[in-house]
């Protein structure tokens, strides 16, 4: 198969360890990551058109993290994250149409348009939000894990939060109880280097992955820009956690290309810093080059996939604009659940 690189940026970028991953698996990673990126770019565009309101936090750059981790998990496992959540929903197999329609605040959205970008859930996909209060999802994730253990269903929880949330007290309250009670939970710290505009160096003493040590929770720092490294680390963590050993921390070294939210001009970092990551360490470009050089796929194969992804994303955007706004009666529904009569 062809060894040519289709992207001008691809030459500097390569996966560190790709043994034990089949070409088919790698292609799936590529599809999921590309779906997230194209979806987020489209969300950014719809935001620019005024179709998405309020806050909109894009996941562009970090796609390998959630793609790699969720690929290792099973349907019975539960997932919770904070507000940079669109990628997590797509990686949990939620329908891009329903996610995009929630972003535009339409009836076809996962929360009928009542939750918005930061507050989306899918019980069917075991995705428990989408939380807007930084750090508050850590104990809730602990509670999901508590339920797995209580029911002895063999499931585990992946609880995602950022380097910013890692400074919240609730996280450590949760580490303590999760370790004491050996809860089946993987704490995933997505360290994208900036808590809004404050760099990790200015906000966090010590290493984040080591912060579980005092509670007896092992932690590992992982190259979150390399999906294969993410997968391998997750496999180790899942084996440990499913083995009844209690929680584990995975700190994912990653980077967001866009600002904290759509209205953030990101003046706290240089353009060179951003471009260096994009040019030398892009998680999608790396997988694409591998597929072309080692995976047995041609430029045309990749083009077909790119087109398919683009179609899915465009379809979601169409749906998100055509779906009506929620009926005004929705204002007063879902406040309390009335008991079955």
């Amino acid at each position: 198969m062809g060894k040519q690189n289709s992207s001008k940026k691809a030459t500097a970028q390569a996966l560190k360890g790709s043994n034990n991953v089949t070409a088919e698996e790698m292609l799936e990673f590529y599809k999921t990551m590309l779906l997230i990126r194209r979806f987020e770019e489209k969300a950014g565009q719809l935001y620019g058109m005024g179709l998405i309101g309020g806050f909109c936090h894009l996941y562009i750059g970090q796609e390998a993290v959630v793609t790699g981790i969720q690929s290792v998990l099973e349907d019975k496992d539960t997932v919770i994250t904070t507000y940079r959540d669109h990628g997590h929903m797509l990686a949990c197999n939620m329908d891009p149409k329903g996610v995009m329609a929630e972003l535009t605040g339409r009836a076809g959205g996962y929360s009928n348009g009542k939750g918005g970008s930061m507050h989306m859930f899918s019980r069917e996909n075991n995705f428990f939000g989408g939380h807007g209060i930084v750090g508050a999802n850590a104990p809730i994730g602990g509670g999901l894990a508590f339920a797995h253990k209580y029911r002895e269903d063999g499931g585990l929880t992946t609880c995602y939060f950022g380097d910013g949330a890692a400074n919240q007290g609730q996280v450590y309250e949760t580490y303590n109880m999760a370790s004491l009670w050996k809860l089946p939970i993987i704490f995933v710290i997505e360290n994208n280097k900036y808590a809004m505009g404050t760099s990790q160096q200015r906000a966090a003493a010590g290493e984040l992955f080591e912060r579980g040590a005092a509670y007896g929770i092992p932690g590992e720092k992982v190259d979150g820009m390399d999906v294969v490294e993410v997968v391998k680390a997750t496999q180790r963590a899942v084996e440990y956690v499913r083995g009844g050993n209690g929680p584990m921390i995975l700190e994912m070294d990653t980077y967001r290309y866009r600002g904290h939210s759509m209205s953030d001009p990101a003046k706290y970092r240089t353009k060179e810093e951003v471009n260096q990551v994009k040019d030398e360490n892009d998680c999608i470009v790396k997988v694409k080059s591998w597929l072309l050089s080692d995976g047995g796929y041609s430029d045309d194969d990749i083009k077909v996939i790119d087109k398919e992804i683009k179609a899915v994303v465009n379809e979601s955007a169409e749906f998100a604009q055509q779906s009506p706004e929620p009926d005004i009666s929705e204002l007063w529904t879902d406040i309390l659940l009335e008991e079955d009569k």
């Binding site: 770019e41 565009q45 562009i60 809730i140 007290g169 109880m177 309390l336 008991e339």
Partner: protein
């Protein structure tokens, strides 16, 4: 089909901005994610990225142009195989350009006109009181938990000192012995943490009973009660329920000072998505806690430490479950209505007895539930007595009494023969000194004085 690139809004409030510079020229090819231009908003200079790949066919708005409205076409992108000729021929773009249509809502969306909550199932409470025995409020609460734990394996109790210590106030006495450490769980002193763990377990379908040693400490966890529990059903479009009870003693105990003596009734009653319950007697405690545990919504259950050791006659029947949202008329009367909850019900009843000796016949309402409020019982009573006095331990400003006064203004104004009066705790942090503490808390005499005032009795 050519693709139109539009002037983007890059903040929640932006309507126009300056197209500062183009970083690409006509004829340049771009890929999704490439920065193509910079725009200036009222706050900052922002980058515009391409969403699609193609060749910049035509730049429609030059760099340096001020006041470009959001959604103006600033450039046209040519896709593979297209030429400039396609631009004029095919102005239609693959991007929907119309903004959201203004939603001209003509229907009445008045925020006062809440839809009626589902009909409250009424039960014949009198029937249950045919067979009673005296038990303390403490025992009643324990029995309620034990009975519900026997009925439903999903129910568990979690909190500080609830298991091996048998409860800081002995409310959970014996539960560990009967149900074991899996279902009666001691936590570290970490309110935000264990309230959040309870919230997550409830999302997953378990039925946690979270005990706060007192509600003063629940302030550490109020975010989990409100943001993570009360709002979840709504934010999830009805997908995620939170069948959780947050319970513990609320209000003043004795001589424990400002940080341990506060009534949170009005705080939680403010929040849509919560139910708020405040029992007075042992019957209330048992019947309402059972209802709270069975309820599929988050319930804040405000107990009172001073009442734990008080004994009341309570129904023996385990099926005595009080519908949440139903007040109880503890004493019928014709001259004035005293509306109250929790420990103040006892003081209101005491005041009513003394007032009877003075020839004033007071009706005493024990609300039992604070949200949803049984407005019908209050309004019907005021229509009969034409006078209302409220009695609560909490502070006056934005307290429960203010809510009752507003309710009567809205629904029974024409029936009033006197202004509504509020008996409340004084508007000060709770003092420690015995004499000051007594002054800070509402007393029976305060209720009598207020009733005499609205009765124009000299």
């Amino acid at each position: 089909m050519t693709i139109e690139i539009l002037m983007p809004a890059l903040s929640p409030t932006m309507t126009e901005g300056k197209l500062a510079t183009w970083l690409k020229s006509e004829g340049d090819s771009v890929e999704a994610g490439d920065v193509i231009a910079e725009i200036e908003t009222d706050k900052a200079t922002m980058e515009v990225e391409a969403v699609d790949e193609g060749i910049i066919g035509k730049i429609m708005i030059d760099g340096g142009t001020d006041n470009v409205a959001v959604n103006t076409v600033i450039a046209v992108l040519l896709e593979e195989g297209e030429t400039l000729a396609d631009i004029s021929d095919a102005p239609a773009s693959s991007v929907q350009t119309q903004a959201v249509e203004e939603n001209n809502v003509t229907e009445d969306t008045s925020f006062v006109a809440q839809p009626k909550s589902a009909e409250i199932l009424d039960i014949d409470e009198a029937k249950f009181f045919e067979n009673t025995k005296p038990i303390t409020v403490r025992e009643a609460l324990r029995d309620a938990m034990a009975e519900e734990m026997r009925n439903d394996n999903n129910v568990f109790v979690m909190g500080e000192e609830v298991a091996e210590y048998q409860g800081a106030y002995k409310v959970t006495q014996g539960l560990l012995q009967e149900f074991g450490a899996k279902r009666v769980i001691d936590t570290p002193i970490t309110e935000a943490g264990f309230a959040g763990i309870g919230a997550g377990a409830a999302y997953a379908g378990l039925k946690p009973v979270i005990e706060f040693m007192t509600f003063n400490f629940a302030m550490q966890a109020i975010d989990q009660i409100i943001n993570s529990s009360a709002k979840t059903l709504y934010m999830s479009g009805g997908q995620i329920t939170s069948p959780i009870v947050f319970r513990g003693p609320n209000g003043a105990a004795t001589r424990v000072g400002a940080q341990h003596s506060q009534c949170y009734a009005s705080w939680y009653s403010h929040v849509p998505g919560l139910k708020v319950v405040a029992p007075y007697s042992s019957a209330d405690a048992r019947g309402l806690l059972k209802a709270a545990i069975r309820d599929p919504n988050p319930v804040v259950f405000l107990e009172n430490e001073m009442l734990y050791g008080t004994s009341f006659e309570a129904p023996v029947d385990e099926d005595y479950v009080i519908p949440i949202g139903k007040a109880k008329i503890e004493r019928e009367g014709s001259d004035v209505t005293i509306v109250s909850f929790s420990i103040m019900v006892g003081k209101a009843l005491e005041a009513a007895e003394k007032l009877a000796e003075q020839g004033i016949d007071a009706e005493v309402i024990n609300l039992r539930t604070l949200r949803p409020l049984d407005t019908k019982t209050i309004v019907d009573s005021v229509k009969k007595t034409n006078r209302l006095v409220s009695a609560e331990e909490g502070w006056p400003v934005a307290g429960m009494g203010a809510e009752f006064a507003a309710l009567i203004m809205e629904e029974a104004f024409d029936y009033l023969d006197a202004p509504v009066l509020r008996v409340t705790g004084k508007d000060v942090p709770m003092p420690y000194a015995a004499n000051l503490e007594k002054l800070a808390l509402p007393q029976v005499e305060d209720i009598i004085d207020a009733v005499r005032k609205v009765s124009y009795a000299s």
